[in-house]
């Protein structure tokens, strides 16, 4: 008789997620998929509200990336009411947003991925947590993480009006200018972030890529199934997490599509399946061809690695050096179409890419904090509501974040659509989970270490089901192993 494995809800995951693995009568994986069994209708909750409320409502979709929702939302208002952001206000938005990226990526690396990468995927479950990471790295590492979060969150609070759920975004502007004292603090924070990011990259290379139990996971051989990649770049082709044009490259690295964020619906469509509430975005140009990878499939990824895969270069010097080292390590440096990099298809390299992005964000903060006009007081402008549509796109740590609103003459919201990072990656996550399950489960043998390695294939995307289903919640994760014959649950692991 076959068996069915279900992982539900997934460890260290915001929102409710479940992995189901179906075993045949020989104990081999016949199917595996990732699903989200909840939807709470956030969009309908927003209809009828004043559009100005949106940045302060959407930033409560979850507690993990409120800054991303706040920025995408206020940029949608800029667009909807024809109010390009004032230069001084844009500098503040960018400064906050890069501080958020540093804190978020640092937290992911040490707290979410660290238990697997540093303590080890097969270590006892009781050791695979942040305290195990600190035991392995020493007390100074814990101090470094706490200090990194504290300085960036304080800066965000001082610039954003409130910690975590900042509230200073206004259509076309920002609520408060930067004082000279705060500018000095921002410079200090940026410098400390840069050193912390460099030290974290060094730690990753020494202890994880070149040593330790995960070394083989980062080896150049044996790439994962290729997909298209999507991300935002600036005029020079460097990644830009705040604004730019959206670029898509194919599995060979050829730029196949470039579009303005406002045109996203012409290029991205969403496929629905009856067994999950999270939709499956795909590239219209290639269509939905099921859960298939490759150049003729519309499936794409929008992750830190995807953002680097679409980029020509990094916008800051140290990040550029780290970028080159990453692509050289996988044999992908400047040997693709037109001398571009070939995309890295190793999903685990997403962890490495995340650290390159952290360094880039720290360096960008340093530039912004030293801008001669950072303290320019002209951050507000009068903006009148008008009927129309607005689309705001930023790169969230987990992927491209799209807020699309429509409002009436009174500025009341009539329609909302959100596509978040985890949703873009939904199909790729399912494929990664299935690949991992097929590679690890044989003869019906399912151990905690195997299930954790399957979860690692999922966690590298840093998924957030709460955002992806627009449901607020912190329900943990579950893996179910089921019989393919009758669907009976044979193993169940709940991570909470």
């Amino acid at each position: 008789m076959g068996r069915r494995i279900v992982i539900d809800p997934v460890t260290r995951l915001e929102g409710h997620g479940r992995i189901e693995i179906l075993l045949d009568e020989r104990g081999e994986v016949s199917r595996a998929w990732f699903l989200t069994p909840e939807l709470r209708g956030f969009e309908s909750f927003c209809v009828g509200r004043q559009a100005e409320e949106m940045p302060n409502i959407t930033n409560r979709i979850c507690g993990i990336c409120p800054e991303a929702h706040h920025m995408a939302s206020v940029r949608a208002l800029d667009a909807m009411w024809g109010a390009p952001c004032l230069p001084a206000a844009e500098r503040i938005r960018r400064l906050i947003y890069n501080a958020f990226f540093v804190a978020d990526h640092a937290t992911h690396f040490y707290c979410f991925a660290g238990p697997d990468l540093i303590v080890g995927p097969d270590a006892p479950k009781t050791e695979r947590n942040i305290l195990g990471v600190i035991r392995a790295l020493g007390r100074e590492a814990g101090q470094g993480i706490i200090a990194c979060r504290a300085r960036n969150h304080r800066l965000i609070k001082m610039l954003g009006g409130r910690g975590i759920h900042l509230c200073a975004g206004l259509p076309g502007g920002w609520s408060v200018p930067v004082t000279a004292e705060l500018a000095a603090e921002a410079r200090q924070v940026a410098d400390e972030n840069r050193e912390f990011a460099l030290a974290t990259l060094d730690l990753f290379l020494r202890l994880i890529r070149d040593d330790g139990s995960c070394r083989e996971l980062f080896a150049p051989g044996g790439a994962d199934p290729p997909t298209h990649y999507l991300g935002t770049v600036d005029d020079s082709g460097a990644p830009d997490v705040y604004q730019g044009e959206v670029r898509v490259v194919d599995p060979d690295g050829l730029v196949t599509t470039t579009f303005a964020p406002a045109d996203y619906a012409a290029h991205i469509a969403e496929h629905a399946e009856p067994w999950t509430y999270m939709k499956f975005p795909y590239l219209r140009r290639f269509g939905w061809r099921g859960f298939r990878t490759g150049a003729d499939s519309g499936i794409y990824q929008s992750t830190p690695l995807a953002r680097l895969n679409v980029a020509d270069r990094m916008g800051t010097p140290r990040a550029q050096a780290a970028f080159q080292r990453l692509y050289e390590a996988y044999g992908c440096w400047q040997n693709g179409p037109g001398g571009r990099n070939r995309p890295i298809h190793h999903r685990m390299a997403t962890h490495w890419a995340r650290l390159v992005e952290m360094l880039a964000a720290a360096e960008r903060m340093g530039e912004l904090a030293r801008h001669p006009d950072l303290c320019d007081p002209l951050v507000r402008q009068a903006v009148a509501p008008r009927a129309g549509e607005g689309i705001g796109v930023v790169e969230a740590p987990r992927g491209t974040l799209i807020h699309h609103y429509a409002c009436d003459d009174d500025g009341l919201i009539t329609q909302v659509n959100l596509i978040v990072g985890t949703t873009h990656n939904n199909a790729a996550i399912g494929i990664s989970v299935a690949e991992a399950a097929r590679g690890l489960i044989h003869g019906g043998t399912v151990t905690d270490g195997i299930l954790n390695r399957i979860e690692m294939a999922f966690r590298l995307y840093d998924p957030c089901c709460a955002c992806a289903t627009h449901a607020v919640g912190k329900t943990p994760f579950e893996i179910l192993v089921r019989s393919s014959a009758d669907g009976a649950i044979l193993d169940r692991v709940v991570r909470s």
Binding site: R12, G63, L131, Q143, D462
Partner: protein, 154 residues
Amino acid sequence: MTTLVIGLGSPLLRDDGIGPQVVRELVRHDLAGVRLAEAHAGGLALVEEMQGSERVIIVDASLHPDLRPGEIAVTGVGSATCHAACSHDCTLEQALALARGAGLALPPDERIVIVAVGAADVQCFDERLSPAVAAALPGICARVASLAREGAIP
């Protein structure tokens, strides 16, 4: 002794908003020396909010089957509510251990009180509490105020 009351939860998610509702109501109580705060995220973010306080009371919604909607249970760190953890970083216990190890000034576990409030619905987007929880709000506020005064400087 500096006491902090944290209302934990989303004010947009029906009974999940009980924590924030309680601290908003407590503004009208005589709680000199008690700091009031709202928090939406657990784990490290929650612990960072506690920094500098000598005693902390966390008010959070709970779907524990033994709690009727509006009923409260006063517990400690060892039996923290689900939302006191963050699934993107760590549990409340782990976050406390990490932050203490890094030198943050935090109260000991025995000075962290969790007031779990039975909830009927923490999933629907709605800014109103369910009827049973709304009816219990004054009593919950009185109990939390009493707990806060116990630890405040006389």
